[in-house]
């Protein structure tokens, strides 16, 4: 009875998230990425293609910006490079940043979807339901990170995307998306569900290390940490805590310390208040050289 439900539970329907409520019990999936360890090798991106049935769109479509890499590695140069007064060479190397859906707690994409195809799940994920998507692309328009990818063509039926034998590699746990739907990084929700199912069967919670995302699992330098932020034993929780980054803040206390806090945890576009679930650790460069 929806109307009676509405009236009975009025207070709960009026909670703002994540400031007012803390529904993250027992799970809140979160990630931290150490940019100092990330070498930009692209293994995570390829692993994501393998795990999540991402189509290879080919040169021409890639040129038109139709690439479907849920996880993309961005390469930045120092701001001083090549400008007057700066160096002609990237003396401190490049800077790599793996960028995928930040699973924002207050995701700008969720509110704008007309069909309610993208929602916030109880364990802190930004769900994308392909079969509900009508393809208005409003979510992508409103994503500050631009990490949502639209199926501009029907890739399953496109030549050379998954030809003859190649389609046998498709992961049966992940729906292959047809034309006209939006998709994005899911934190490998199929793996999370399998792990949760196993844990439930055994009457326990998912322990840290029970489940890894595909990108985390492959990362040669272990730059990606993934886990349950609520679980105090999890590595990701310890990292967030030691970096004094809090989920429901739009500016961290540590950042207001004069002279710096000596910590390097930050979240991208925190000030826009999407409350991302991915903490990055700043890249470090030696000052003595």
């Amino acid at each position: 009875m929806s109307v009676s439900n509405l009236l009975e539970n009025w207070a709960q329907f009026r909670h703002f998230h994540p400031i007012d409520d803390k529904p993250h019990d027992p799970y809140k999936w979160a990630m931290s990425i150490d940019l100092d360890a990330c070498t930009g090798c692209n293994a995570c991106s390829v692993a994501c293609y393998a795990e999540n049935n991402l189509p290879v769109v080919g040169k021409e479509k890639y040129q038109h910006g139709h690439g479907m890499h849920w996880m993309r590695i961005e390469r930045y140069w120092d701001e001083g490079l090549g400008v007057a007064g700066g160096s002609d060479f990237p003396d401190h190397g490049a800077q790599f940043l793996p960028m995928m859906c930040q699973q924002c707690e207050a995701a700008p994409c969720e509110t704008v979807c007309p069909a309610a195809a993208t929602n916030h799940t109880a364990d802190g994920l930004n769900s994308q339901i392909y079969n509900r998507c009508v393809g208005s692309r409003y979510c992508s328009a409103n994503c500050p990170f631009k990490v949502r990818y639209f199926n501009w063509y029907d890739y399953p039926t496109t030549d050379n995307v998954w030809p003859a034998e190649m389609n046998q590699q498709l992961n049966p746990d992940v729906t292959v998306r047809s034309k006209g739907v939006m998709e994005k990084c899911t934190f490998c929700v199929q793996r999370l569900h399998a792990a949760k199912g196993t844990a439930k069967n055994e009457g326990r919670l998912v322990h840290d290390g029970d489940v890894q995302t595909a990108c985390q699992q492959v990362c040669p330098t272990g730059a990606i940490t993934f886990g349950n932020l609520v679980d105090h034993e999890s590595k990701v929780h310890k990292q967030w805590q030691s970096q004094q980054v809090e989920l429901d803040k739009d500016a961290q206390v540590k950042d207001q310390k004069e002279g710096g806090s000596g910590l390097r945890g930050y979240r991208i576009f925190e000030e826009l208040r999407p409350y991302p679930s991915v903490m990055y650790l700043e890249r470090v460069r030696e000052s003595a050289i």
Binding site: C113, P114, W152, D154, K179
Partner: protein, 482 residues
């Protein structure tokens, strides 16, 4: 006026051929001749529904041709996916949404002229409000088409319609797109009803003066047995007034909701507080200029020189000029507030428009939207039909560019520099669809004008009657004074 170009001279010549005696036209700046007989009004308007000039058929043919292009594009896009329209991941919307806003904006003219002027008892609206309302209705229909065309999975559009279904799912009422859908639905149905209600007495006239055929049946059904009794007129007046009252806030809400599509988002260049006002002003602006365009076309095609008179045109033009200046001001406010803020991302978008790859279009918009209307301030142009025709088309072009300049630069130049993309231009499918929308609109509009009276006969009669009454009164008063 006489000193103008050859083309102008030709128009003047045509003007001379018009059924209004020259001296009468010249004599007074009257909106309408009081001496027109009511029977002649009936006769003229009814004739327009039967024998328009040949140009009518030419327009209809080209409109249909343009529409067919769009059908082809849509079939192609439907089968192959949205990618064929040359959109990509930052450029998710492209021309469809900007043209959607354009048509929504255009729809505001009908309401403005009809409802606001009706409430203000500005009776010069009477000969032109009918086609303005039709303009509202059909441009809304055109706009609605773009919502559909824009969807990646058109065949699933009903997922965003609120109806109780077996799944127990509802659309997301938080989405401004849903507000849009709701507002447009409300606006469209209200506009159609407003148009229809206002047309009932005229439908009765049509019914009475046709003898047989499908049209007779159509008018008989649609006129609901209207006889013009005092009871009918009385309730008609109240109803018309009430709906006009409903429509004004509704119209404002519609375009501010369309503005909310952008303002409610978080993107630089969109997340602007003044957007609703800006959108509404832009909407009225494009609506008014569209009215001028259609005024000129209808006046010629249906030989309405006696009803759609130059003084009325002049009033419309002056209104348009005022709105153009409001729009210009709001434009300036928007840029100023962005500039004054320290939001680097929004500034970047603005700079991108002014000197980036969009600069030609942006400056085109400023030229068409703010500079061109300055001509309207000159009295000599206010009744110069060829000039007005060109100017009104330019204004519309400017308004279309404005919508494009709202939508596209934020996509190409959003928060995230890595995804900036300055090379993606709309593909032929998008242009085809935009082109076709004009055909579709013209087709519907011209069709309407042929089937239904595009000048409100009873209101013109009222106008003539009241003017005459007024004239008589003032004459009496004059005589009394003597």
């Amino acid at each position: 006026m006489e000193k103008d170009t050859n083309e102008s001279a030709a128009w003047t010549k045509r003007e001379n051929e018009s059924p209004i005696p020259k001296h009468e036209r010249r004599a007074s700046e009257k909106d309408i001749r009081e001496s027109i007989a009511w029977a002649k009004i009936n006769q003229d308007v009814l004739k327009s529904m039967e024998t328009p000039r040949k140009l009518y058929w030419v327009i209809l043919f080209f409109a249909f041709a343009a529409f067919s292009v769009g059908v082809g594009c849509e079939v192609y896009q439907y089968q192959n996916g949205m990618g064929v329209s040359n959109k990509n991941n930052p450029h998710a919307w492209g021309l469809y949404i900007s043209t959607f806003i354009f048509w929504i904006g255009m729809s505001h003219s009908g309401t403005l002229l009809s409802a606001i002027l009706h409430l203000m008892h500005a009776d010069w609206r009477k000969p032109i409000f009918r086609f303005a309302e039709a303009l509202t209705t059909f441009s809304l229909m055109t706009a609605g088409l773009f919502v559909m065309v824009h969807l990646g999975r058109l065949w699933q559009f009903y997922y965003s319609v609120p109806y109780p279904d077996e799944r127990g799912l509802w659309p997301n009422f938080q989405s401004p797109l849903l507000w849009d859908a709701m507002a447009i639905f409300t606006y469209l149905s209200s506009s159609i009803l407003f148009l229809y209600i206002g047309m009932i007495p005229d439908l009765a006239i049509c019914r009475d003066h046709l003898h047989e055929g499908w049209r007779k049946n159509l008018y008989t059904w649609l006129s609901l047995g209207w006889e013009g009794t005092d009871r009918q007129w009385r309730n008609f007046r109240v109803t018309y007034l009430t709906i006009a009252c409903f429509l004004i806030p509704l119209a404002v809400s519609v375009h501010s909701i369309v503005a909310a599509d952008f303002a409610m988002s978080q993107q630089p260049g969109w997340h602007v507080t003044s957007f609703p006002a800006y959108f509404v002003a832009g909407a009225l602006y494009s609506g008014c200029s569209a009215i001028i365009t259609l005024f000129i076309i209808l006046r010629y095609v249906f030989k309405f020189e006696e009803y759609m008179t130059l003084p009325i045109l002049k009033k419309t033009v002056r209104l348009t000029f005022a709105i153009a200046m409001i729009w210009t001001y709001l434009n300036a406010v928007e840029f100023a507030s962005v500039w004054y803020s320290h939001d680097q991302a929004s500034k970047d978008v603005l700079i991108q428009k002014v000197i980036g790859p969009f600069a030609p279009f942006w400056w085109g918009m400023i030229f068409c939207g703010s500079v061109v209307p300055l001509t309207l301030a000159f009295k000599r142009f206010q009744t110069n039909i060829p000039v007005l025709f060109v100017v009104s088309l330019l204004l519309n072009l400017g308004m279309w560019l404005e919508r494009w300049m709202i939508v596209a630069p934020t996509f190409s130049h959003g928060y995230y520099p890595w995804t900036w993309d300055h090379d993606q231009w709309p593909g032929f499918v998008q242009w085809g669809m935009v082109f076709a929308s004009f055909g579709w609109f013209t087709m519907l509009f011209m069709g309407f004008c042929k089937v239904f009276p595009s000048v409100s006969m009873y209101e013109v009669k009222e106008m003539v009657y009241h003017r005459k009454l007024h004239l008589k009164k003032s004459e009496t008063a004059e005589q009394g004074a003597h």
